[in-house]
Symmetry: C2
Subunit: 333 residues, 2 copies
């Protein structure tokens, strides 16, 4: 029989529909194949195809020229723009504001065929550290309430450019997903004087069925109320509310574990498209005790259906216990 | 500049990212092509491949045999099952319950190649009426709090069987999307003593920019804070909270308008996959004054990205004013 499970942070129910359990071949899997593209704007030598760089890792070369290992540039087609005012206004019963914010792209490598799973650990750490720096810089702008860091890998996961990159978006609002998590964690803390994420790590380590991997600073697990097949969370063991305050050694440990997890997914799930999200406290809110930053990796294996649109309930055909077992067994030698 | 718009029912923001405006060729459009399939369990003559029918429109033939125009059967791989008890329980800090509910399939035609857009109006009315009957029957079970009716058309919209069908699911909870809508409508009513959906219809009819089509009982529009390109809502002009209480002439008017809208979409968007949802008040709640049943049609033109997963904010590259203009112009002669 399928099970309804409640996410302990947001209180949201998911359906673990094990009767509809799928073999890997049943998923609408679109393996990501990296193919050279002479017109890619993110490749070394094509620096003039992007807006001017905001940050780069270079060895003595000048800005917006070749000779770099990482670049951060404004998005050419930004979701939100830095210039202007919010200009909140009504239109009869409707409300709107201008799309003020920031939208930056972290180009993770000069080479078109690199991916996070194949890059060296130090390069992944550099990517994460560059994201951290950009968040630190953007949060000085008082208009921004939330800054998110995420990555789309593969067309099925929404990547419009194949070349490996992450994105940093600053928003003038606290959006719903962030609101739900932060408020849920606050309610848990108010009731128990404990962080809900610390409680999750403690229970999962004692239980073991949903653990995937870990190191001194970080633990990777399949969450109890996984919304998606093979959804994976990476949590720092030490309580801290903000990714952008993580010390160097934790960012290094995260890089090492991410590389390991992405390699396991490539092996077990045949190089799936995926989204990677860094969840951190909204910049303008004091939630240091209750919120706990973490990373989510969501392989794109299923389609959104009318059921999910109608209910907001996720229907997950793979139990997290099974996903964790598969990923535990997919360690590279 | 892009715009943040607030949904007047749920208070949820969406980003209308007109700077990222797409031509039809930019969408990852997977046109739905109906192809014969000798092994389809929903085709006439294959009645033994489904569980026994719960309801059928037949002309004198016996149950589960050929000679029908519509059949309703339990889903062979149900998300939720009728048998058993909820058995709510904890597992340390986690909460779960059994997947009790109902999951039925309305097979809309005996012929594999039929679609709602090509079927006769009377046949669409029969489909809607069968859904209405099934909701009326299921709501007698006191365990169910919400009954949803939806349709996935095309693989990209989550349809695992191509043969045209709708689904009815009864849930033991009020899921988040339904909760948000019902609560938002209640807040609006408490403040204004008016239904928010009635207010929307009134303002949109006066404004005109987002109207698509209509008839005596129903109006179709592109909602102000459309989450998806070409998202279309169909609202009854007369206030009523429940689809399952709609009188015959309104269901007929809905059938006529749905057929018109699906034909317009096929013409303007090259036979897109889509989800169709019937939104109705939760069965166990008294929201007769504030909630207003309606239909949503969402063509599958974009992918879910990390941005949407991280924020819950929808990023819509097509302004609803533009979508409405395109669909107004796509009327069949």
């Amino acid at each position: 029989m399928s099970e309804l499970r409640k996410d302990p942070v947001t209180g949201r129910w998911v359906i673990i529909a094990t009767e509809r359990r799928k073999r890997l071949s049943d998923f609408s899997l679109e393996s990501v194949e990296m193919v050279s593209d002479a017109s890619c704007p993110f490749c070394e030598g094509h620096e003039q195809m992007t807006p001017r760089e905001l940050l780069a890792h270079r060895h003595g070369t000048s800005a917006d020229s070749p000779g770099w290992t990482l670049r951060v540039v404004p998005n050419q087609f930004p979701v939100l723009r830095v210039e202007g005012t919010l200009d909140r206004q009504g239109d009869g019963m409707f409300d709107k504001m201008n799309g003020i914010g920031a939208h930056e792209v972290v180009i993770e490598s000069p080479h078109h065929l690199d991916t996070l799973a194949t890059m060296e650990e130090g390069r992944i750490e550099a990517v994460l550290w560059a994201c951290r720096e950009r968040v630190q810089d953007l949060k000085r702008d008082q208009r921004f309430r939330t800054i998110i860091v995420f990555k789309n890998h593969g067309a099925a996961a929404g990547a419009s450019i194949a070349h490996s990159h992450s994105q940093v978006v600053a928003l003038p609002i606290v959006p719903r997903e962030v609101r739900d998590e932060v408020d849920g964690a606050r309610v848990h803390f108010a009731a128990k004087e404990r962080c809900v994420f610390c409680d999750i790590v403690r229970q999962e380590e004692a239980d073991g069925r949903r653990l995937i991997a870990g190191n001194a600073d970080m633990v990777a697990l399949a969450p109890y109320a996984s919304r998606f097949p093979f959804e994976t969370w990476v949590l720092p063991r030490r309580h801290q509310s903000r990714f952008e305050d993580a010390p160097r050694h934790e960012v290094g440990s995260l890089a090492r574990l991410l590389r390991d997890l992405l390699q396991r997914m490539n092996k077990a799930l045949r190089v799936p498209p995926y989204n990677l999200l860094i969840r951190s406290a909204p910049v303008a809110e004091a939630v240091d005790d209750s919120y706990h930053w973490h990373v989510e990796i969501i392989p794109t294996l299923t389609k959104v259906t009318g059921f999910e649109r109608a209910t907001g309930l996720h229907l997950n055909p793979t139990a997290p216990e099974e996903a964790a077992e598969v990923l535990r067994g997919a360690a590279l030698p």
